[in-house]
């Protein structure tokens, strides 16, 4: 068991493409860290650098206190679960699990014991004699996880392991990964672009964008107090409504003076779930008001998303519980509590003090 620590880690590819631009964070022992961000944000590259599959241009990577920058992947005591599982197609499940141990010259009885234990934990015992091509996607996923856990490594690395599964299976595997990680208490780093996976799995959420870390924190902390406009828009579905507001326009849109817009303006954000439609057009005490024209309505069952736009053109989404919602073209008033407003600097790079 060991923690993982990154200090100012950079990756520059040939042609001066900077994929990771100086990332530092520390995953404490036994924690489940999720790296989340849009495609191309450098999260997978970072994970592969921790695994040792990519070289590190500069910076220091430590696993369990040892600097591993120049250590071979097999010597780092890590295990990785790949997006497409990367099972050896010509070996049966048993040999897939045992291969890494054999290469380490683990004694045969111990290999057998460990493989059977992993198979029992993952409930794949009946499949041990089968070849990967005879397995379903979910079963392959389990074998891939099994290959990681038989090794009893210091760190698990997951590279979007659920993205090849169908939606239903993804949810159940997500729960299982969480349970498994809890019971094994192995430090884990998990890469995903799915913010829902990120929110539900993480003890520690690292939001990345364009090769940089935008915010590190507990999932709910990140949700409630996003540090940048990017995080605000990325975490949460549907995304937070963001509007650029100049001080002089603020009064017309919302009660500008009271929400403290600086002279040169700010990005004001409010989550769809914090907005509600006012039946009689009145503003609750201490609240803010947005006049909307409804463009579209999405009913998904337990809730309804109302897509509207304010007079100046910004799009605003309102989440309404139930199915009762106005029709397209209607004018409605959306209201929210003032303390639910998020304000960011004009370039979106920092959160303004509440």
């Amino acid at each position: 068991m060991a923690g993982v620590k990154l200090e100012d880690v950079r990756k520059v590819y040939a042609g001066n493409v900077e994929a990771v631009k100086g990332v530092s964070f520390e995953v404490p022992d036994g924690h489940f860290c999720v790296l989340v961000g849009p495609s191309g944000c450098g999260k997978s590259t970072l994970l592969r650098m921790i695994a040792g599959l990519e070289t590190t241009t500069s910076g220091v990577i430590t696993i369990g206190g040892d600097v591993v920058n120049h250590v071979e992947p097999s010597e780092r005591d890590i295990a990785m679960v790949f997006q497409n599982y990367a099972l050896y197609p010509h070996m049966n499940v048993y040999n897939n699990l045992a291969y890494g141990l054999r290469n380490r010259r683990t004694p045969k009885p111990e290999i057998d014991a460990r493989v059977r234990e992993a198979a029992r934990i993952l409930e794949i015992e009946p499949l041990l004699a089968r070849k990967p091509r005879e397995l379903s996607g979910g079963q392959r996923q389990r074998v891939a996880m099994g290959r990681a856990i038989v090794r009893k490594p210091k760190v698990f690395l997951f590279d979007e392991p659920l993205s090849n599964l169908d939606a239903k299976l993804r949810v159940s595997m997500r729960v299982e990964i969480k349970k498994l990680q809890r019971s094994l208490a192995t430090t884990s780093i998990y890469v995903t672009h799915d913010q829902l996976e990120a929110m539900t799995l993480a003890d520690m959420l690292v939001v990345m964008n364009a090769g940089r870390v935008e915010q590190i924190g507990l999932p709910l902390e990140v949700y409630e107090r996003p540090a940048t406009a990017f995080v605000a828009a990325f975490i949460g579905a549907p995304p937070m409504n963001l509007m650029t507001v100049k001080a002089k326009d603020a009064v017309a849109l919302i009660d500008g003076a009271a929400i403290g817009i600086p002279e040169d303006g700010a990005i004001v954000g409010i989550r769809p779930e914090d907005l509600s439609l006012s039946k009689d057009g009145s503003t609750p005490a201490g609240g803010i008001t947005l006049g909307l024209t409804v463009n579209a309505v999405e009913r998904v069952g337990p809730e309804t998303f109302v897509y509207g736009s304010v007079e100046r053109g910004d799009d605003v989404i309102v989440r309404v519980p139930g199915q009762d919602a106005p029709g397209a073209g209607e004018r409605v008033v959306a209201v929210a509590r003032r303390d639910k407003l998020h304000r960011f600097s004009m370039d979106g790079s920092r959160r303004l003090a509440d």
Binding site: A51, E72, F82, Y85, Y88, H90, Y99, N103
Partner: protein, 282 residues
């Protein structure tokens, strides 16, 4: 529906049968010819039914040989041909799979140069470079030897390219998983790449064995001693003769014998061969 299907099947079957007859009839005639006595064929009377000299003719062909022309029993030629075809097929596969592995998985200086040099040899089969190749073989004292028969034919761009294409379809994650599992380059090659290439190797073996077996020009040049002849050369030598009567019944025996090993190889490897050409195990 059923009726329609039956009628629909008749035409393709008819075409297939016509094709089979066209291909098989000459082979049958050769077989018939190999079971009669010399005078019958020499007189221009080609019988349609097999004769009675099957055992006698084949015994003479394999163990004694023709009386005046090749001076070697066909048994020796078959052994020579077999060694040549086997060494060429196995050697080509071994060399090309290793070079394809190097080109695809290792980053070394002049990698692309190496690839293009191999690629260019596609344009230089033995027939084109026959004089220089002969000169080199002669200087190295390879005339009348198995090494001389096989080595110049072994280096193969086609097989290298085929393996290269196949290796490039193997997902990178497999290499990475192997690295994490502690398998070095040699283990990855032995434990993962070779088993995955099994069907490709089988398909290639069939093609290359037949290629080696059917070699004519190169063995004709490089061998002068009778006991180094291959069977394909043997057939030719049995016929071209001015001072003796061609023993057609023995020529036909030799033809039949020359056909058998490739046929066996195809039958034995058929399942792997087809799989190697149509599917990839991934």
């Amino acid at each position: 529906m059923v009726e329609q299907k039956k009628i629909g099947n008749i035409v393709p079957h008819l075409i297939l049968w016509v094709g089979i007859v066209i291909v098989a009839f000459p082979v049958y005639l050769a077989f018939v010819g190999s079971t009669h006595e010399r005078s019958l064929i020499a007189n221009g009377q080609m019988p349609i039914w097999p004769g009675s000299l099957f055992f006698e003719n084949y015994y003479r062909t394999i163990f004694v040989g023709t009386s005046g022309t090749t001076r070697e029993p066909v048994g020796t030629m078959i052994v020579n041909s077999f060694i040549m075809a086997m060494v060429i097929a196995c050697g080509k596969i071994a060399i090309s799979i290793i070079s394809a592995y190097a080109i695809v998985y290792f980053r070394f200086r002049l990698r692309m140069t190496a690839f293009w040099v191999i690629f260019i040899t596609l344009m230089l089969p033995v027939e084109v470079r026959i004089y220089p190749t002969y000169k080199v073989a002669a200087d190295l004292n390879l005339l009348d030897s198995y090494a001389g028969l096989t080595l110049p034919l072994i280096a193969s761009a086609t097989a290298t390219l085929l393996f290269r294409q196949f290796f490039m379809t193997v997902p990178d994650e497999l290499v990475e998983a192997s690295r994490i599992d502690g398998a070095g380059p040699f283990r990855f090659f032995k434990d993962t790449l070779l088993p995955l290439s099994r069907t490709n190797m089988a398909a290639l073996f069939v093609i290359l064995f037949i290629y080696g077996w059917n070699q004519y020009l190169w063995p004709l040049l490089i061998t002068t001693r009778d006991d180094m002849q291959t069977i394909i050369i043997g057939i030719k030598k049995m016929i071209v003769t001015s001072d003796a009567l061609t023993e057609w019944q023995l020529v036909m025996c030799t033809v039949m014998l020359a056909m058998l090993p490739p046929v066996f190889v195809v039958i034995a490897m058929q399942r792997l061969f087809v799989r190697g050409l149509i599917e990839t195990e991934k």
